[in-house]
């Protein structure tokens, strides 16, 4: 029985690990830079580790560096975190079905839903013999541990880390590009959504600038998806019919 338990976990962890390698590349760089920044503002590795374990979100943790060095403003902190990470609401909507029936693991799966972990878990399907819940939990846990490990290391050894080679964070861009491409390869049914996502976000970026375009982009995407519901629905229905044939 106990042997079986280890086997199930080991099998799930083994299947999960390769999928987390692109995130490992990205989080190594992003985590180290975050740690270096925290150290440069006088924060201890312990505080850095605490933030990375409990918040686990790159964009808000970066924004928080400024807040932590300013005056104590609890309500603004909460609102800022909610606004900066509002895009996660879309991830939850996308994962409602996939995370159904996963029991207590679901609580952690939702907690650990960063941009990267959501993306990988959304497209990843475990092999048949692997426990689905464990598989997604291991992907989430590996990603989380990379972030915590490298942000803490960055804070500990900040000054020793060479910073003259840049560009490692492109692992994240490439990861999202690949996943977007996979959506297109899945069939023409995803094309309108991809155009709405890219076009709506690009338009919002042009109008509002890099600092605060995400929420306008989300609103615009929801509006466009509502306007084009009929044609998009019929594309999905047709794809389903063809899948059944």
């Amino acid at each position: 029985m106990k042997n079986n338990f280890y086997k199930r976990h080991l099998a799930a962890a083994r299947a999960a690990f390769p999928l987390t390698v692109p995130v490992l590349a990205g989080y190594t760089f992003l985590g180290l830079s975050y740690g270096v920044l925290m150290a440069s503002r006088g924060f201890s590795p312990l505080i850095t580790m605490l933030a990375s374990i409990s918040i686990y979100g790159g964009s808000i943790q970066y924004a928080l560096v400024g807040l932590l060095t300013g005056a104590f403003s609890p309500i603004e902190t909460f609102i800022l975190a909610f606004v900066i990470d509002a895009r996660h609401i879309f991830y939850g909507i996308s994962m409602l079905d996939k995370y159904k029936g996963m029991g207590l693991k679901k609580l952690y799966l939702i907690f650990a839903m960063t941009d990267e972990t959501f993306s990988v878990n959304y497209i990843a399907e475990p092999p048949k013999e692997i426990d689905r819940g464990l598989f997604y939990t291991y992907i989430s846990f590996f990603d989380h541990s990379y972030w915590v490990t490298f942000s803490t290391l960055g804070c500990l050894f900040g000054s020793l880390i060479p910073t003259d080679i840049k560009g490692f964070d492109f692992a994240m861009t490439a990861l999202f590009v690949v996943i977007l491409l996979e959506q297109l390869l899945e069939g023409v049914k995803n094309l309108p959504s991809v155009l709405i996502g890219v076009g709506g976000s690009a338009l919002a970026l042009l109008v509002f600038g890099g600092g605060d375009f995400l929420i306008p982009a989300m609103v615009l995407m929801l509006l466009l998806l509502a306007v084009f519901k009929k044609p998009i629905d019929s594309l999905h229905d047709r794809a389903e019919e063809e899948g059944r044939k």
């Binding site: 918040i55 932590l68 902190t77 609102i79 975190a81 996308s94 959504s193």
Partner: protein, 109 residues
């Protein structure tokens, strides 16, 4: 800020972030059948979200100078080409990242 205030600030940022992640699961309780419009969003939203994430990663592009956009465009083109050829996520990401690192460190300095 005192040590206590730092801890409270981190805790509130953690709660704010967690709220965005848990909200849909709290609002749309999975024991009831999922509302129709949400079923539609579940299918139509994810491809749009990945489009948004790509734009989000490229938000700092600038078109005043070739070094502000060409490395990204070239590396993305390579990522797409490699992925179409091999369809292996790891290989495509590694190729794109390697190309980008070479481009920004040695060519477009």
């Amino acid at each position: 800020m005192s040590g206590f205030e730092i801890i409270v600030t981190i805790a509130l940022a953690a709660i704010g972030t967690a709220a965005t992640r848990y909200l849909p699961f709290i609002v749309f309780n999975s024991n009831k059948p999922t509302p129709k419009y949400l079923v539609y969003l579940g299918k139509a939203l994810p491809p749009a979200v990945f489009g948004m994430l790509v734009v989000y990663c490229l938000k700092a592009l600038s078109f005043t100078d070739v070094s502000g956009y060409l490395p990204e465009l070239l590396a993305i083109a390579l990522t797409v080409g490699v992925h179409l050829a091999f369809r292996r996520m790891l290989v495509s990401v590694a190729a794109g990242m390697a190309a980008y690192i070479l481009l920004v460190n040695f060519i477009f300095i």
